[in-house]
Amino acid sequence: MSTEVKPRQTVGPAVTAPAPPPAVRRKSPYPYWFCLPAAVIFFVFFVVPTFSSFFFSLTRWDLTTWEFIGLDNYVNFFQESALLTSLKNTLIYAVVTCGLKVVLGMLLALLLTSQIIARGFLRSVVFFPVLVSTIGVGLTFQVLMDPSGLINDGLALVGINGPAWLVDPKTALLSVALVDVWKGVGLATVIFIAGIVSIPREYFEAAAVDGASAFQRFRRIILPLSRPATTTVIILALIGGLRSFDLIWAMTRGGPGFTSDVIASVIYKQYQAGFYGLSTAGNVVLFILVTAIVFPLFRYFARQEVDL
C-alpha cells in the first residue's frame, strides 16, 4: 500500500489537474501522506506476512534459512488425520457458535426489548462476559465443567445426568463452543437490540391495528427489518469462530488427544514444535477457508440489501 500511495502524492495533483483550474487545486487540503504512517505499519506487519506466508508454506524453514519443498507441507497437512480433524473441527465450531449466537441472540434481544422488569440490568448482565478475559472465562469453565463439577451438580438437581464435557472426546469441542456462545452471545444480543430498536414504531402500530399476532409481528416485521443486524452478527460470529484460538487453548489445548484441535491451535502447536513451514501452511489453509466463506457471504448479503 505504501508504494501505491507515494506516487499518488507526488504526481497526484498533476493527474487530477485537467478538471479544475490547476491554481486552485495545486495542493489538496486532504493530502494522501496522512495515510502513510498507517499504511507503512499495516503493510510491514500485516500485508508482508500475509503474502510471504504463501511462499514460506512451500518451504522447510527455520526463520533464517529456507529450502523449497513444493507442496509437501500441504500434502502432510491433508494426510495427517489429526490435522484433517482440525479442519473439520474448525468448520463445526464456527457453524455451531454462529448458529447459536444468531438464534439465542435474537431470542434474548426480543426478550430484552419487551416490557419486562429490570430490562436494563438484564441487558448489562448478558453483555458483561463479552468484556471479560477469554482466558479467565476458559479456565473458570474448565473447573465448572469438571464431570463432578458445579454444572453437573446443578443438572443433577433437576434430574439430568450431565455429560463428561471436556473429558469426553465426543463432547469436548461442543463444550468449548457452548462456552464461546456464553461469552459471545451478549454482543449478538446488543447488535440485535440496536437493530430492533431502529425499526420505526409505525410498523408495529399498523400491525396492531390489523390484529397481527406476536409471532406474525416477529415473522413479518422484526425479522426482515433487522436483517442488517443479522448480517453483522452472522459475519462477526463466523470470522470469530473460524479464527478461534484463545478459548480452545485455555480449556482443552486441543485435547483429549486431538479431538478438539482447530486450525488455529494446530498452527500454534506446529510453531512450538519448530515446524515453521507446516505451521505456515496451516495459516494459508485457514486464510483460504476464511476468505472462501466470508467474502462470498459479504457479496451475497450486499446484493440482498440492494434487493430490499
Binding site: 500500500m1 499518488r8 487540503p29 486532504y30 494522501y32 496522512f34 495515510c35 504512517p37 498507517a38 499504511a39 505499519i41 499495516f42 510491514v44 506487519f45 500485516f46 506476512p49 500475509t50 510471504s52 514460506f56 526463520l63 416490557q115 419486562i116 422488569i117 429490570a118 438484564l122 448482565v125 458483561f128 468484556l131 471479560v132 478475559s133 477469554t134 482466558i135 479456565l139 473458570t140 473447573v143 469438571d146 458445579l150 456464553w182 446488543v190 437490540i193 437493530g195 442488517p228 448480517t231 452478527v233 470470522i239 484460538f245 484463545d246 485455555a250 488455529a264 498452527i267 500454534y268 510453531y271 515453521y276 505456515t280 495459516n283 494459508v284 486464510f287 476464511v290 467474502f295 440489501e305
Partner: protein
Amino acid sequence: MRTKTHLWLGILGIVLFVIVFLVPFAFILFTAAKTQTEAGELQFSLPTTWALLQNFRDALAARDYMLVIAFINSTILTVVSITILVVLSAMVAYVVQRRQSRWNGVINFLVLCGLIIPPAVVPTVWVLQSLGLFKTLGGLIFIEVAFGLSFCILLFRAFVATIPRDLDEAAIIDGAGPVRVFFKVIFPLLKSVIVTVVIVQSVVIFNDFANPLYFLPGDENATVQLTVFNFQSQFSTQYNLLFADILLITIPPLLLFLFLNRRIVEGMTAGAVKG
C-alpha cells in the same frame, strides 16, 4: 392480568439470567477468597474464612512479582498502542472520507482484508525478527496497531462524515495547512468517537492473549493474560491464587463496564444497523 404475567416472566428471566451469567463470576470471587485447601474442593460455597486480600497479595508476589510486572507491561502496551491507533486511523479516515478518488476503493478493500484475514503467525515472527523487534514490547505495539487499524478506521470514517466540510474550508481560507486543519479543527471534534474507540480497543488489547503469546514470549515480558496460564501450571492445585489472578485481571474491564457500559455497547454495535 397482563402486567402480572410480565412480572412473573421478568422474575423468571432474572433468576435464569443470574444462574447462567452471574454464578460463574460468583464462583470466581468465592474461590479467590478461600484458603488453599478449601479452594481445592472446587465447591460453589461461601468461603468459611475470607482470605481474599491475602490471596491477592500472594498472587501478585508469586514468581518475583510477575503479575505486577505484567500489569505494568499491559498498561504500557494498551496506552501506547491506543494512542498510535487513534491518531493514525483518524488521519486515514479523515482523508478517505473527504477525498473521493479511485484510491478509496483500494483503501476500503485493505480495511476489509484487515478485518477478515487471519494474521499469519510465523511470517509475522519472521518480520519482527528481521527488524529486531521480536520479543520486544515495541514490536507487539506495532502488531496491535496493525491489527486494530481496520476497525478504528471504520468507526472514525462514519463519524467524520457527520462533520460539515464548511469547517475545514473555513480553516483553509484562514490559511491553515492540512496538518493544522486536522489537528486543530477536526481532531478535537472527534472526541466522542475517540472515547468509543479508546474503550473498545482497550478491552480488546488488554484482553489479548494470542498476540503476546506468539510475539512476546518470555516471563520477564509477560502481559496479564499470560500470567493466568503460568499460574495454572505452577500452582496446579492452588486454585485460590489462580482465581485471585483471574479476578484481578477482570477488575479493569469491570470498572470500564460499570462506568461506561453505554459507550462500549455503542462502539461495538456501530455500523451494525446500517449494515
